[in-house]
C-alpha cells in the first residue's frame, strides 16, 4: 500500500516536472512530437531507476560509513555521468532495438537535473532501498506522463493561430502553466 501511495504521489500529486520543476530542459526541448517525447520518457525511466539504486548504495555504504557526506554532489554527478555511458554501451550490445529507440536520448540525460534531483531527494527523504526505487520509478512515470501530455498539446498548438509575440517558447510556457494548474487539482488526493 505504501508503494502505491508513493506512485500516486509522485505521478499525480507532486509531479516532478509540473510541481517540482525538475527536468524542465528536456520537458521544453524534446516535446515537439509525441513519439520523441515517449522515447525520452522511456530513457529517463531506465536511467533514473538505475541511478537512484546506485547512488543510494553509494550514500549508505561508502559516504555515510566514512563520514564523507560533503562529497555527495561530486560523487553523485560523476556516477550518473559514468552510468549513462555504461548503460549506453550495454544497451547497444544486449538490446539493439531498445538502443535504437532510446539511443539518441541517452547522452542528453547526463545533464538532466531530474536524475540528480531524484537521487538527492531519495537520500533527503530517508527512504530505504525499495521505497527509494519505487519513488524513482514513480517520478520517471510522472515525467513520462507530463512530457507526453505536453507533446500532445504542442502538436495541436502548431496548427493554432497564436499571436505573433507569443509564438514558440512563450506560448509553450503558458500551456505548461495551465497543465500544472490542472495537476494541482490532484493536490489533496493523498498526503504526500
Amino acid at each position: 500500500m505504501e508503494y502505491i501511495l508513493i506512485i500516486i504521489g509522485t505521478v499525480l500529486v507532486s509531479n516532478i516536472v509540473l510541481a517540482n520543476f525538475l527536468g524542465i530542459c528536456p520537458f521544453l526541448g524534446v516535446s515537439g512530437k509525441i513519439s520523441t517525447a515517449a522515447g525520452m520518457g522511456g530513457a529517463v525511466l531506465f536511467v533514473m531507476t538505475i541511478a537512484t539504486i546506485v547512488t543510494w548504495l553509494i550514500q549508505n555504504y561508502i559516504l555515510n560509513p566514512f563520514d564523507l557526506g560533503f562529497l555527495q554532489t561530486i560523487s553523485f554527478i560523476l556516477v550518473i555521468a559514468a552510468l549513462v555511458q555504461v548503460v549506453e554501451i550495454i544497451l547497444k550490445k544486449v538490446s539493439p532495438p531498445l538502443y535504437q529507440a532510446l539511443g539518441v536520448f541517452l547522452p542528453l540525460i547526463t545533464t538532466n537535473c531530474a536524475i540528480l534531483g531524484v537521487a538527492l531527494l531519495v537520500i533527503q527523504r530517508d527512504y530505504n532501498l525499495i521505497s527509494g526505487t519505487v519513488y524513482a520509478v514513480g517520478n520517471s512515470l510522472g515525467f513520462l506522463l507530463a512530457l507526453v501530455l505536453f507533446a500532445g498539446i504542442r502538436e495541436h498548438l502548431e496548427l493554432m493561430d497564436v499571436p505573433k509575440g507569443m509564438r514558440g517558447m512563450p506560448i509553450a510556457l503558458v500551456v505548461a502553466g495551465i497543465l500544472a494548474l490542472a495537476f494541482s487539482g490532484f493536490a489533496n488526493l493523498v498526503a504526500f
Partner: protein
C-alpha cells in the same frame, strides 16, 4: 569585442534566461520571491566566475576527450563550497532553495559557458564573461521573482505594500510557467524579434 561588451552581453543580448532559455529549472523553481531569486542568482554567479577562472587556467592541461568530466568535477567542487557556505551563513535561504543548490551542477548555463567560452579564452576575459553571464542570470531571476511576489503576495523583497491577498497562483508552480512565458514574450517584443 572589448571587455565591456563581453560583460554586458550576459544582461541583454545573450541573457541566459530570456534569450538563450538555459537554466530553466532553478529559474522556475526558486523564484517564488525576489529575494530567493537573487540568492540563487548570486550563488550561480559565484560558481560561474570560479569555474570559468579555473577552467581557463587548466584548459591547456586537459586532454580533449576527458574535458567534459573534468569540467563537471571543477563545477561540482565550487557548488559544494557554495552549499556548505550557505548552510553555515544563510541557513534560512539554504532551507528555501533546498535541493536546487546542489543542482547548480547540472545548470546548463555553467557547463555551457565552460565549454563555449572558458575553454577557448584567456583567464581575464573568462572571468568577465562568467561575471556578466552570472549577474545577467541573477537579474533575470530577481525580476521574475519580483513579478511573481508582487502579483502573488502584493509585496516586494518581503516588504508588503497592501494588506490584502494577491493572486495566489503566481506564488505556486503554475504561476512560474505563466509569468515566465509572458516575460519572454515581452523581451521578444522589446528586442523586436517578434
Amino acid at each position: 569585442m572589448n571587455q565591456w561588451q563581453n560583460f554586458s552581453k550576459g544582461f541583454f543580448k545573450e541573457n541566459a534566461v530570456f534569450v538563450m532559455l538555459l537554466g530553466m529549472c532553478p529559474t522556475l523553481a526558486v523564484t517564488s520571491s525576489a529575494i530567493n531569486g537573487l540568492g540563487m542568482g548570486l550563488a550561480t554567479t559565484f560558481v560561474l566566475v570560479m569555474s570559468n577562472l579555473s577552467i581557463s587556467l587548466i584548459k591547456d592541461l586537459v586532454p580533449g576527450k576527458v574535458r567534459i568530466p573534468t569540467f563537471i568535477v571543477v563545477i561540482a567542487s565550487f557548488v559544494t563550497v557554495v552549499d556548505l557556505v550557505m548552510a553555515g551563513y544563510a541557513p534560512a535561504l539554504h532551507e528555501q532553495l533546498g535541493i536546487f543548490i546542489p543542482l547548480i551542477v547540472v545548470n546548463c548555463v555553467v557547463l555551457g559557458r565552460a565549454e563555449a567560452f572558458a575553454s577557448k579564452n584567456t583567464v581575464y576575459s573568462s572571468v568577465i564573461d562568467g561575471a556578466g553571464m552570472g549577474l545577467g542570470f541573477a537579474m533575470a531571476l530577481t525580476l521574475l521573482g519580483a513579478v511573481r511576489e508582487l502579483l502573488g503576495n502584493l509585496s516586494l523583497f518581503g516588504f508588503k505594500f497592501i494588506d490584502a491577498d494577491g493572486i495566489l497562483v503566481f506564488i505556486l508552480a503554475p504561476g512560474a510557467f505563466i509569468a515566465l512565458g509572458f516575460m519572454i514574450a515581452l523581451v521578444n517584443r522589446i528586442t523586436k524579434k517578434a
